[in-house]
């Protein structure tokens, strides 16, 4: 369950490709009272979303969009309850990570019919990874608003202090170099560490891929955590913890544990998404920058995920919802989100210069996203992903604490993962 939404990223303004043209002859109804559920954690965010809702009304005076927000942490419990009682909003915000689970259970309706009917709508303006991320079985269920790849953050001050060369901006360094730098930055006496890893399985995945491994096979029928490449990758990361080059994990219940450690100024490097730019700026008092993920045996491979909005299956106003949806995710809207600034827009046309640095290397992010540097793959999850994540979190915690070996955990986890993949396949069959 990755809370770091790429969505934050999409703020980065779509360069005005006139996709805003919700043209008169495009598809979509033009009247209705709609409800729109979205998460929001600050008044500023809420204001931005509200202004997008108002834009819809301005353009289509017969459509009103009522925004309902809860904090991200609570959004999912609430959404689940609403869907179970058929009370969900017309326009529903969805994360790519959770999409299979909800879409396969019929929460949202496929968007292709609307897209095909709408001659003016260019769905290809949306980055590939977010389109894939918000699709299940090749069926698109939501239009993305943000997306972001996992990248490497580093503390420039610490590097300077230790006299270590910071990672290059455009070339991923190798795992050996990465480890070496981390070692040089580690100073147990001052409680400084070269690296910190969030003890959540999602953040192990870029390492898995860079190491040539994966968590499941392409057919999504078998868990591949036991492959030598997978194990090698995991041992590389965990090895940094057990060799005390990475900070010890002291909190298993905090989704922001690693980034908060990074804020503290005693960590050399940290992997996370571009959505943290604002947070790190606000909470740190040191110089920092970003670089691509270190390159393992299979290169520098990272995942991209994001969020978007879909139309619920139980709405009575599908056409009006589509119209509103197009407007909310239009280039102009996404540009507004960028200015409000947390993330990378899901549309290429909205990418423009992100806010003023830090980080200096912000341009690197888009290059990574389109795989000009390294390789970015969408983070593919299953319909049983929630349960899978809970299981993985639980069973991997001793490993992150350095109390169990990777081998032991994988042999415990694999049968459960396989079982969940079986259930996943069964659900997919039911739905088709």
């Amino acid at each position: 369950m990755n809370r770091r939404d790429f969505l934050r990223m999409s703020g980065a303004g779509l360069a005005g490709v006139g996709l805003l043209g919700v043209s008169a002859c495009g598809g979509g109804g033009t009247s209705g009272a709609l409800r729109w559920s979205m998460w929001s954690d600050t008044p500023e965010e809420t204001r931005v979303w509200k202004s997008l809702a108002e834009d819809v009304h301005e353009k289509y005076p017969d459509i009103t969009v009522k925004l309902e927000t809860v904090t991200f942490a609570d959004y999912w419990d609430k959404l689940t309850t609403q869907i179970a009682s058929e009370n969900e909003a017309d326009i529903v915000a969805m994360q790519s990570l959770r999409m299979p689970g909800y879409a396969a259970r019929g929460a949202l309706q496929p968007l292709m019919p609307f897209i095909e009917d709408d001659s003016e709508f260019d769905v290809d303006d949306f980055f590939g990874p977010i389109r894939q991320g918000l699709s299940v079985n090749d069926e698109l269920y939501a239009l993305g608003y943000d997306i972001g790849p996992i990248i490497l953050y580093y503390n420039k001050d610490l590097f300077g202090k230790a006299g270590v060369e910071p990672p290059p901006a455009e070339t991923p360094m190798s795992w050996e170099e990465f480890r070496e730098k981390a070692e040089q930055l580690t100073n147990p006496g001052a409680k400084e560490y070269g690296f910190v890893e969030q003890p959540v399985f999602d953040f192990m995945v870029p390492w898995l891929w860079s190491g040539g491994g994966d968590y499941m096979n392409a057919a999504q029928t078998e868990c591949t955590l036991d492959s030598p490449e997978s194990i090698g990758a995991m041992e590389f990361v965990i090895g940094m913890i057990t060799d005390k080059i990475a900070a010890p994990v002291t909190d298993l219940a905090n989704p922001s544990f690693a980034v908060e450690e990074f804020f503290g100024g005693k960590i050399g490097m940290h992997v996370d998404g571009p959505w943290q730019f604002i947070n790190i700026r606000e909470n740190s008092d040191f110089e920092w920058d970003v670089a691509p993920m270190p390159a393992g045996p299979a290169g520098s491979v990272t995942w991209a995920a994001g969020s978007g909005f879909g139309i619920s299956n139980t709405t009575e106003n599908a056409d009006a919802a589509w119209t509103a949806l197009k407007t909310i995710t239009s280039t102009g809207s996404l540009k507004k989100l960028v200015k409000a600034g947390r993330g990378y827009p899901a549309r290429e046309s909205a990418v423009s210069t992100f806010e003023k640095p830090p980080p200096q290397n912000v341009d690197v992010v888009q290059k990574i996203l389109v795989s000009d540097i390294g390789e970015t793959r969408p983070f593919v999850t299953t319909t049983t992903w929630q349960e899978t994540t809970v299981m993985l979190t639980r069973d991997f915690s001793p490993v992150f604490l350095g109390k169990q070996s990777v081998d032991a955990v994988v042999s415990k986890v694999k049968p459960q993962f396989d079982e969940l993949l079986k259930e996943h396949q069964e659900i997919l069959e039911q739905q088709s």
Binding site: D41, E68, F72, D77, A84, N87, G264, G265, N283
Partner: protein
């Protein structure tokens, strides 16, 4: 008397049971209370101190105790983070509504269970008790479906009514009513008082502490109860403070200093309610109170 003893005498107040015995008892008791209070307060004091810190300082490793610089503006920032004024009103309406509804209906029902004989009484009471043993996580969805059918989603009644009928109030008051001697009512009944008359004129006046206890606990519990309001409220018009506090726990990180400030502010009404209710707790009862004659 030694100085020690004099202090002991000076410490004596008017509330409660006389410490009796040696004159230095009060000092001993006081000392123990102070030590316990200190231990109890350490986490809370740290919470309040955190509210005054800047965001980077809260993230500092190792955590600091005393703020390096004081940021009292955090409280204003926390208050403005979300429409807490409105949330406060919503909380008061919701919790007040639940408290009153629960206290009144529970008192009536508890009287029936404690005093009246009717078929199925004990079985019904057992049913009441049983519902306390099911966690809300599984009852929440059926309850929500119910209020959705009633069109009570995002309304005050949707927040108040489903929560006002838990068995806790009936259980507590029934236990209390059972300890009031029958003689009191018998005398009244022989004089021709109705059941309701007995209830109104005899049982209720004696039940001050129990009613106050129920009211205070209902208030305290529902003030901080998150799950139900989270699901039922959709808009600022009904969101209570407890849901509003969640605003500080973002997707990517928590604004700890603001959260602490808001939590501190949110605690104030509950403390006021408790202090106010003290009068009923303290009242000595010459006749049967809890537990004896």
């Amino acid at each position: 008397m030694s100085a020690f003893d004099s202090i002991g005498v000076a410490l004596k107040g008017r509330v409660g049971v006389s410490p009796g015995g040696k004159p230095y008892w009060p000092i001993l008791i006081y000392a123990t209370l102070m030590a316990m209070a200190f231990l109890t307060l350490v986490p809370i004091i740290w919470m309040v101190l955190t509210a005054f810190k800047s965001a980077p300082e809260v993230a500092a490793n190792p955590p600091t105790w005393w703020p390096r610089e004081w940021h009292p503006e955090n409280f204003a920032a926390a208050w403005n983070f979300a429409p807490f004024g409105r949330y406060l009103i919503n909380s008061l309406v919701m919790v007040g509504g639940i408290t009153i509804l629960q206290t009144v209906t529970s008192a009536l029902a508890a009287y029936a269970f404690a005093r009246l004989r009717f078929r199925g009484r004990d079985l019904l009471f057992l049913l009441y008790l049983g519902t306390l043993m099911i966690p809300p996580q599984v009852t929440v969805i059926p309850q929500f479906i119910l209020i959705k059918e009633l069109d009570w989603v995002d309304t005050y009644q949707g927040l108040i009514i489903p929560q006002a009928f838990t068995a806790f109030g009936v259980f507590l008051l029934r236990q209390f009513f059972l300890t009031i001697p029958y003689e009191l009512e018998d005398a009244a009944r022989i004089d021709g008082a109705s059941r309701f008359g007995c209830f109104w004129r005899i049982i209720l006046p004696l039940s001050g502490p129990a009613l106050a206890t129920l009211a205070v606990f209902a208030f305290l519990f529902h003030w901080n109860n998150l799950l139900w309001p989270l699901i039922v409220s959709n808009s600022d018009a009904t969101i209570p403070v407890v849901v509003g506090l969640r605003n500080f726990q973002g997707q990517y990180g928590t604004e700890w200093n603001l959260l602490m400030a808001a939590a501190a502010i949110a605690t104030i009404p509950t403390v006021i309610v408790y202090l106010f209710a003290q009068r009923w707790f303290v009242r000595g009862i010459t006749m049967s109170g809890f537990g004896g004659r």
